[in-house]
Symmetry: C2
DNA sequence: CGAAAATTTGATCGAAGTCAATCATTGTGG
DNA sequence: CCACAATGATTGACTTCGATCAAATTTTCG
């Protein structure tokens, strides 16, 4: 999978980009491969890059009283960044970690801004990604708010099928706001029926 | 407070709008006053309007198993709409209700799109509002996820001071994902120290 | 003023948390 | 390539926060 193909994925999955825009995006971005467990952003850093996941997976997490809490998962065709730092220009409360051997397309905020100024379509792309994220977060609040632990797991599996095969359960538990023990009990209860 | 002054509030609080853009926005929008308890959007409707709150307050809520669950509060200088319907063009799961006698500036999605096409600054304004909302939702997830009922109340009071004076506690309780009874007990425990 | 809505208070219960021990899987260095 | 350490997952016993159900009290408003 080369850079041009990766950019085509974005154009296809999100919103159309003109040939000129794609060429310039290509010049401004890099394809990178990472090992599992690579940390892309550390807590306290100023995060200035956006990553598009061509292959693999990543997560955003933060430390809550020393405990690792996963806040976001990203898989193929998803974007990921440390949103608070990226948008508010503050030190990142989040870590971003690659959780599978991955191929990512990286582009800096600076270049995103240049492209957004020059190409209306690229600006739209940004808006579409942010809107999608906003709506996903809103849905997640509904799920967190009034579902039991086992309903939360079901909702997650609907939204991200196979996630339990790809991601350690401890990350899933903290993402759902339940303990690892509870998640384990829920899963076993399921297959006991 | 007239329409021009309201539009100035947007320009000041969110992002600069040129005189021409303001004039056209003025032509495309209406200032409206509403009584408390007015429903602006009903469940099932296609929501095509965005509202800016000049004075007063509104909330978005949905019915979860027949129970009224508040999902969003908006006060002076906030925008409110039925986000799922507005952005996804689906029947709204939300109601939007005015909860104080209010003055609102109303603008349709159609006009927003026209203005966004014509004025880059107006398009940016949209992006800024969506980004702000996204970040707020993300913060709210953190709060919901790992705080006790009483910490949730504290977090809310930090973000929206005086909300307990302006909004019935039942709405606050459902917004926080706790029962009215628990909220009542928490509040009384506070002043008993 | 009286009805409806909002809030408080009390008693009881249960889902999920905590703490602790064990079991399973993964991966790395000798 | 095996051993054993590190990481991840399961199971058990016990506790707790907040839910539920019920009733009383206060506030709001036509």
């Amino acid at each position: 999978m080369n850079k041009e193909q990766s950019i085509d994925l974005i154009s296809t999955n999100y919103s159309f980009l003109s040939p000129e825009c794609k060429i310039e995006l290509s010049a401004f971005s890099q394809i990178l491969t990472f090992d599992k467990k690579t940390i892309l952003v550390k807590e306290g850093q100023f995060a200035t890059n956006m990553y598009f996941i061509v292959k693999g997976a990543a997560r955003a997490y933060y430390l809550k009283d020393g405990k690792d809490v996963t806040d976001w998962f990203a898989f193929e065709n998803d974007f990921i960044c440390a949103i608070n730092s990226f948008f508010l220009k503050i030190p990142s409360p989040h870590y971003i970690e690659v959780i599978e051997p991955s191929i990512l397309l990286k582009i800096s905020k600076e270049h995103i801004e240049k492209l957004s100024d020059k190409y209306r379509e690229f600006d739209s792309l940004g808006k579409i990604i942010i809107t999608k994220t906003m709506l996903q977060l809103q849905q997640r609040i509904v799920s967190i708010q009034f579902e039991t632990a086992s309903q939360k797991l079901e909702s997650l599996e609907e939204n991200l099928p196979n996630i339990t095969q790809r991601v350690p359960l401890m990350h899933i538990a903290s993402y759902l706001g339940i303990t690892l023990e509870t998640l384990s009990r829920i899963r076993n209860a399921k297959y006991r029926i």
